[in-house]
């Protein structure tokens, strides 16, 4: 594909530094139409980028890395040599812009999905109506690694199981949104959404000119409200804590960030203790009752008495306190059953079953390899498929047919034959691309996805935007940050089309001018007179 002709570019004529960019042929581009012109809602942002020029952008990129290292916004990345290093979280300076109308569509789709998933979890550990009505097979549900027998018969205080969830969305060649997977266990990444926005404001405030970008900064408040709402009813304001496995965890930064922003304690397992089926934390003033725990630790580890006995991170007796209704845990124990990749296949049916609605955003076509017929179909065209292990997250063990070698294909076939129930296959979705700064201050198309975050308190709230992850390698579709992916600040524009901010009448109080220093000769005389 050749570069667009100069006259097609909005600022190419006026600015010698304008960044050349050619959308990838055949792919949907988030910022440009195939003609090479920006979409109407990205035009202003692209113009500002061109105004900065590639040299300045390169310099700003270095400044960004310094800021992130200084603020400690890093993650562990595995280098090609196998070493793990602390690296600045790679934020791309070109934001992803989502129009108000598009966001309306996305958020209604995510909301619907989260609601259905929550109903599903409640049902699976409750009356199992969806199973009795034959929509989801019981054998599949009960064999999921995320299915928690200990949660059977539980009822969380306000009926919410999935307090915090994230849906991974992608867009195909035609710009159609699809859900790639659901995360209702311990979705991470929200701290990067908030830190990215702060960093963008500090590094490239020019880009915001003329846009009313919907704020994301109130997320910790939404989360705190949801946790307070989930807490068992007791006298006074409930005590909320964030539970982290510890500083060795790759998302520790996020755990600390959320605790700090919510003004609550960040606890580890050894800080918590259960007495008489109630949970307490050890403070300098003795034990203090804990009402709601936002756990950022896998549920297998939370109580060695009832779950994994070898867990040294857990709190003995916590499940008992939980079952007695003396402490809330978010997300609830057992939600993992809903984001299993084999259950994903059934989510559209759940939406129809529980909500009596058609899914707003469709799934990616998926095959369950446990089913011999589906397996044969997939085996025949495995080089055109993506194969994923059902119980994993973070892009681990994902097989991408089109880019796999013969050897890899053979190995994958063996793996499937070994345990077909552990695998699903999906049609390859050619992810949409977005202009991204690559080496040398140039802009090139790179694949992106989107993870909006939903918080379920009294109702489902969705943070405008979410985490846009970007594959930094050319042609790659793996966006996971543990595998070299980066991120973009994601802008959702205000309802007025995003141009300009609302005007408020301004009616200021009258205020005296600031006093000025006033040592005078006359003052000196008065001084002598008065004392």
């Amino acid at each position: 594909m050749s570069s667009p002709a100069p006259d097609q570019h909005p600022t190419a004529g006026g600015d010698p530094e304008a960044l050349p960019y050619a959308p990838l042929e055949g792919r949907f581009d988030e910022a440009f139409a195939q003609s090479g012109r920006p979409h109407s809602h990205t035009e202003g942002m692209i113009e500002s980028l061109n105004g900065l020029g590639s040299q300045r952008l390169q310099a700003l990129g270095e400044r960004r890395d310094t800021i992130f290292m200084q603020r400690g916004i890093t993650f562990d990345s595995t280098e090609p040599d196998g070493q793990t290093r602390d690296r600045p979280f790679p934020l791309d300076l070109v934001p992803r812009v989502i129009s108000a109308a598009e966001w309306e569509y996305i958020s209604s789709g995510v909301q619907q999905r989260v609601q259905a998933l929550n109903r599903f979890v409640a049902d699976v550990y409750g009356d199992r109506e969806i199973i009795r009505d034959g929509i989801v097979p019981w054998r599949l549900v009960a064999t999921r690694p995320g299915f928690a027998r200990v949660a059977d018969g539980l009822e969380p205080p306000n009926g919410v199981w999935c307090h915090v969830s994230g849906c991974d969305l992608v867009r195909d060649n035609n710009g159609i949104w699809r859900v790639l997977e659901d995360n209702v266990r311990v979705p991470s990444g929200i701290s990067y959404v908030l830190e990215n926005r702060i960093a963008m404001g500090r590094i490239v405030p020019e880009l915001f000119a003329g846009y009313a970008v919907r704020p994301v900064a109130n997320y910790p408040e939404l989360l705190l409200d949801a946790l307070l709402a989930a807490a068992p009813t007791r006298v006074g304001r409930p005590t909320v804590v964030v539970w982290t496995p510890g500083p060795a965890n790759s998302a520790y930064f996020e755990h600390a960030f959320l605790a700090r922003q919510m003004g609550v304690e960040l606890v580890e397992g050894s800080d918590l203790v259960v007495r008489d089926a109630a949970c307490y934390m050890k403070t300098t003033n003795g034990l203090r009752r804990v009402d709601a725990i936002y756990r950022r630790i896998d549920e297998d580890f939370i109580d060695p008495l009832e779950l994994r006995a070898d867990s040294v991170l857990g709190v003995p007796g916590l499940m008992r306190a939980y079952r007695e209704g003396n402490v809330s845990i978010a997300n609830a124990v057992g939600t993992g059953v809903a984001d299993d990749k084999a259950i994903y296949h059934f989510v559209p049916d759940m939406i129809r079953y529980y909500l009596n609605e058609e899914p707003v955003i469709a799934n990616v076509p998926t095959w369950l390899l446990e089913d011999p017929e589906q397996r044969d179909y997939v085996e025949e065209r495995i080089d055109k498929m993506v194969v994923k292990p059902t119980g994993e997250a973070g892009g681990k063990g994902v097989f991408i047919g089109p880019s796999a070698s013969d050897e890899e294909v053979a190995r994958q076939r063996d793996l499937i034959a070994e345990d077909p129930g552990n695998w699903i296959a999906q049609e390859v979705i050619w992810l949409s691309c977005a202009p991204t700064l690559v080496g040398g201050g140039e802009m090139a198309p790179r694949c992106v996805d989107l993870r909006p975050f939903a918080v379920y308190g009294d109702e489902i709230e969705i943070v405008p935007g979410g985490l846009t992850r970007v594959a930094m390698r050319e042609g790659s579709m793996i966006v996971n940050s543990s595998q070299g992916g980066g991120s973009k600040d994601t802008w959702v524009l205000g309802g007025d089309g995003g141009r300009g901010r609302p005007h408020h009448d301004f009616d200021p109080p009258t205020m005296p001018d600031l006093p000025q220093v006033g040592w005078t000769e006359q003052g000196q005389q008065q001084q002598q007179g008065s004392r």
Partner: protein, 325 residues
């Protein structure tokens, strides 16, 4: 000590605190400006006009061809002809310190001198011109460095008292000014539904600007809405930039420096203000009463300023006529 020296120390403290709070306010507004839209649950009405009102920095007339933002930012940051710009405040602090070199610790003087030079250098390099607010972080950090060195190395004598008294009274005055502008009276024509979220948004922006967000979240048993935030910034003694903490500290400094604090109208008046703040803390404050409370407290603080000038420096406080008339 000499009244002139005490006066210069007091104003040195005021100028540094003024520069710091101006930087906090502008930084906060840059953040506000990046976000916000009509359909947000909490919109923010703070604007570049508001800053001008806080500073009382003259008319809003703007030269043609420039945005109000660029104009206000320049006027309050780098404009030397404006006495309340950051560069003027830091310059005035440095000039004051030059006359006090035998009184303030050498390390603090060097930090302030470097602050002044580096600030000018950064402004020449166009750090503000390109829209980055890093200059404001620099101002915050440099003033913290100055206060830290002074606190660590200064003899606790009258000089220390007047320097820190100046810093605290300026902080209290600036926080009150910001509160008044961020939470103006509810107009009778306003419909409640839109007015309340706007005040909440402003309160949160202000809380973040003065660096009190985490302190608030950890101490208050309430979400960051207008009323609890206003109460926090007025009455919370454990938060160092609150009006109550500043006036407490100021009172300690004056009581220590004054040979006869019981006979000092400045100290007495201040003690009355402190008691008044404590009484107000113990009573309910409706949304309508907040702006009145701000105004009354600000007025009383201004009287304290005047008393300090006449008791210790023997001169009248120079508040420009235009605004007080």
């Amino acid at each position: 000590m000499l009244a002139r020296i005490a006066h210069d120390l007091y104003w040195l403290g005021r100028h540094i605190a003024r520069a710091e709070h101006t930087a906090r306010m502008l930084d906060g507004l840059f953040q506000v400006e990046l976000e916000g839209g009509a359909d947000d649950p909490r919109s923010v009405s703070l604007s570049w006009e508001s800053v001008v009102v806080v500073m009382g920095a003259g008319s809003l007339a703007q030269p043609t061809g420039r945005s109000l933002r660029d104009d206000v930012v320049e006027r309050l940051t780098s404009d030397r002809s404006n006495a309340v710009s950051i560069v003027s405040s830091v310059g005035a602090a440095r000039e004051g310190a030059r006359r006090l070199r035998d009184t303030i610790p050498a390390e603090a003087w060097e930090a302030l001198n470097t602050f002044n030079l580096e600030l000018q250098q950064r402004l020449r390099d166009g750090d503000v011109g390109t829209g980055s607010q890093s200059i404001y972080s620099y101002v915050k950090e440099s003033s913290a460095l100055y206060w830290g060195l002074a606190a660590a190395t200064m003899q606790r004598d009258d000089a220390h008292s007047f320097l820190f008294a100046g810093g605290r009274i300026e902080a209290a005055a600036m926080v009150l000014r910001m509160l008044r502008v961020a939470l103006p009276p509810v107009r009778p024509t306003d419909d409640e539904g839109s007015e309340i979220p706007r005040r909440d948004g402003n309160a949160l922006a202000l809380l973040r600007a003065v660096g009190g967000f985490q302190a608030f979240m950890r101490s208050a048993a309430a979400p960051p809405r207008a009323e609890p935030v206003a109460r926090f910034l007025l009455f919370e003694r454990a938060f160092p930039d609150s009006v109550a903490a500043s006036t407490d500290f100021l009172h300690r400094m004056l009581s220590r420096a004054d040979s006869e604090p019981g006979g000092s109208t400045a100290a007495l008046r201040l003690a009355r203000l402190i008691a008044d703040l404590e009484l107000r803390r113990r009573s309910e404050l409706g949304p309508d009463e907040l702006p009145t409370a701000f105004r009354e407290i600000q007025h009383e603080l201004e009287q304290v300023e005047r008393e300090i000038h006449s008791r210790y420096f023997g001169g009248d406080l120079d508040i420009p006529q235009r605004a007080t008339a």
